[in-house]
């Protein structure tokens, strides 16, 4: 009968295994941290995209209503063709619109200093208070590409908790073209 080898590890074995485990733990923590960052960044990016898309989806149906006040003027009154600005002024059917005696009025979408995007009150599209279309919008640009096409660019920023609990700034830009049906149908 062979004698039993004594249970337990030598000090050396213990130290090596602890070191290895420590190293493994550090690596795994790093991987965990990276994956958590990726997750936070991914969800942050989604939130930004959502914000930009929602704003675009609110602006588009307003812009497609643009009609020129008369046939010698453009439907988009400002910015001028070829220019870009953070405010757009366009002509729309006046309140209580009567197609037999049509009167057109102006509407304005603008970005405020508090980073909100609002549709002006007292226009045919909103009669009481300013209607807020989006918040936390860092930059909004309206460019008149052609008389029937407006390029809307929305820049949104956000922060995601990154590696070592550092906040990382995220940016998302959404670019969309809005075609004004008036011109394609007339």
């Amino acid at each position: 009968m062979r004698p039993h080898r004594p249970f337990g590890m030598t000090l050396l074995e213990t130290m090596i295994s602890v070191a290895l485990l420590g190293l493994l733990g550090v690596i795994l923590m790093q991987i965990y941290d990276v994956s958590r960052t990726a997750y936070a960044s991914g969800t942050g990016q989604i939130a930004l995209q959502q914000k930009a898309r929602v704003l675009m989806e609110r602006i588009s149906p307003l812009l497609v209503r643009a009609l020129p006040p008369d046939q010698s003027l453009p439907a988009i009154l400002s910015p001028a063709a070829g220019d870009a600005a953070d405010t757009i002024v366009f002509s729309v059917p006046a309140p209580d619109f009567n197609p037999r005696h049509p009167i057109y009025s102006q509407a304005r979408i603008r970005r405020e200093d508090d980073r909100s995007v609002v549709l002006d009150a007292n226009t045919p599209l909103v009669t009481e208070d300013d209607r807020v279309l989006g918040r936390d919008i860092e930059r909004l640009r309206f460019a008149v590409v052609a008389r029937n096409v407006v390029r809307v660019t929305v820049d949104v920023y956000g922060t995601a908790r990154g590696a070592s609990n550092q906040d990382k700034v995220q940016r998302y830009t959404l670019d969309g073209l809005v075609q004004i049906p008036y011109y394609s149908k007339n």
Binding site: D70, H101, P102
Partner: protein, 544 residues
């Protein structure tokens, strides 16, 4: 028998658990990302497809209506529901899995509900996927009239050109002919406001193939280079809308061959024939009030020596002289009047004085008798013969027309102004719009002319017909005047044949301004000649 003697089994398990945890986090992140992305992409795709389906419906509805108008058929005759309180037309179609359904509703004045030749329809098109509605587009479309043009020519003489350095057209310009522009030397190198402030279209091309289809003369060159590419700043110099505002090869806009619809509107009946005896007539039918109701406007059989538009006590008047005898039409809108006992009204002598309240029209005939009808007429004054003299102040929407099929003319003999607009100012409303419709519309010889005291014409002029040589002319060749006259049109000028108006540099009216009145496009004079084309007046999209 295999026996594992390793004592490191625990660490493998630990490793596996760690890696699984990491993978779990990554998978969670992906799971979070993927559906959101998918939803966003799908919503975008749905939104686009829904728009295209609903838009297809609108296009189909416009095509349906315009096809009927082009063939001079009443669209209402093809409506799904033609009678009753809510006549309308239903259509449907599909685009892949998507379907659209729409309804066309005429407004209260459009046939079959009304009789206006300015037809207005509301089109509501809904796009659905598997019967679930996703998008609704609501469009108001109105028939276009020739009054939308600041200037219009059916045919132009080949030697007549637009001098871009001297012309200024404030609204839409169209030629069924080739557009001929004269560009003087150095024009493109100078600063200045553009000549054409509205869109410019022509139905014919000029050679060569390259370029924009416009025939350019003069030493100023062309607005495109040798390869035909546009030089955008040159277009900006000519047109305020730049290259996009110029379109050649546009659809031909046919002028009407006759003015029968105006004759019918003036008489107010398609079925009964107007009187053949020379005179001024108001057609009426038995109504609910004390008087017969006006059916149309004013119908004049024969030539008119003179017609003067005026305002009396805020009410609109038209004085018509035929054979030296005067008839006076008064449309009481601001206040009424009364007629003394013994006056002959509607064929009978009044036993006692008669009060006529606002909302009535009174015609004092050449023989001194009166005709009284309820209503304010539709604004059309039509003469089967030539109107040899027309002048005055217009109040209310009015069209003065003659028989263009038989080459009848309107001769303007003085200022034609508006009661709602001070002389010299631009009209701001559409209450007092005036349209003239004749084979020829001429400025008469007897008008005093001067540069400092110009002749004002607050009206839109339609002169000519399809395949005719009628147009606008100035009878101004008279050396005795010794000075050059100026006229100013606040409205538009629509001509069949573009020809010299007068003799430039002589004593005629050789200086002119045509200032566009954009209100005319939206609210043209009543029964003014129409185009078989619908124009979008409002557009709304809603997610369902």
């Amino acid at each position: 028998m295999l026996v594992c003697t390793s004592r490191r089994r625990g660490s493998a398990l630990l490793l596996a658990i760690f890696f699984l945890t990491v993978l779990f986090f990554l998978a969670m992140a992906l799971l979070e990302l993927l559906p959101t992305e998918l939803r966003a992409a799908q919503r975008q795709r749905f939104s686009q497809a829904a728009y295209f389906a609903a838009d297809a419906g609108v296009t189909e509805a416009l095509a349906f209506l315009e096809k009927h108008l082009e063939q001079e058929l009443e669209p209402a005759h093809a409506f799904t529901v033609q009678t009753g309180a809510n006549p309308h037309h239903k259509m449907s179609g599909s685009l892949g899995d998507w379907t659209w359904s729409l309804e066309i509703h005429p407004d209260a004045e459009t046939p079959p509900r009304g009789t206006s030749t300015l037809r207005i329809y509301r089109i509501t098109s809904t796009a659905s996927l598997f019967d679930v509605p996703y998008r609704k587009i609501t469009v108001d479309a109105g028939q276009e009239s020739f009054a939308k043009y600041a200037m219009f020519y059916d045919q132009g003489e080949a030697n007549l050109v637009w001098d871009v350095s001297r012309s200024r057209v404030e609204g839409p310009l169209h030629q069924n002919d080739v557009l001929r522009l004269y560009v003087p030397g150095g024009y493109f190198d100078t600063e200045g406001s553009p000549s054409f402030l509205g869109p410019v279209t022509s139905s014919k091309f000029a050679g060569p193939e390259q370029g924009d289809g416009v025939e350019y003369t003069g030493g100023g060159g062309k607005p495109y280079n040798k390869s035909g590419s546009p030089i955008l700043e040159r277009y900006q110099r000519m047109l305020s809308g730049g290259r996009e505002a110029l379109r050649t090869g546009d659809k031909t806009k046919e002028m009407p061959k006759n003015s029968r619809n105006l004759a019918e509107a003036a008489w107010g009946s398609e079925t009964s024939a107007p009187p053949a005896l020379a005179g001024v007539y108001l057609n009426s039918a038995v109504g609910t009030g004390d008087f017969n109701e006006a059916l149309g406007g004013v119908f004049i059989q024969g030539d008119v020596d003179a017609m003067e538009l005026g305002v009396s006590g805020g009410n609109s008047t038209v004085t018509i002289t035929q054979g030296g005898k005067k008839s006076l039409l008064t449309v009481y809108t601001e206040g009424g009047t009364n007629l003394p006992a013994g006056t002959k009204v509607n064929g009978q002598a009044l036993p006692k004085p008669l009060d006529i309240p606002a909302g009535h029209t009174v015609l004092k005939k050449a023989d001194g008798s009166y005709e009284v009808v309820s209503g304010t007429t539709n604004g059309v004054v039509y003469a089967t013969g030539t109107i040899h003299s027309l002048r005055g102040v217009n109040r209310g929407a009015r069209t003065v027309a003659v028989d263009i099929e038989r080459d009848k003319e309107i001769v303007v003999s003085g200022d034609l102004t508006r009661a709602d607009t001070p002389l010299g100012k631009k009209p701001s409303g559409s209450r007092d719009v005036l349209g003239l419709v004749g084979y020829n519309v001429r400025l008469g010889r007897a008008i005093p002319r001067s540069l400092n005291d110009p002749l004002y014409l607050y009206c839109t002029i339609f002169a000519g017909r399809k395949d005719g040589s009628g147009g606008y002319a100035v009878d101004g060749w008279d050396e005795r005047w010794g000075e050059v006259g100026k006229f100013i049109i606040h409205g538009g000028l629509i001509e069949g044949q573009d020809k010299p108006w007068g003799y430039v540099g002589s004593s005629g009216f050789s200086v002119y301004d045509i200032l566009y009145d954009s209100n005319l496009a939206k609210s043209p004079p009543p029964f003014f000649p129409m185009l078989p084309k619908l124009h979008i007046r409002s557009w709304t999209e809603e997610a369902q």
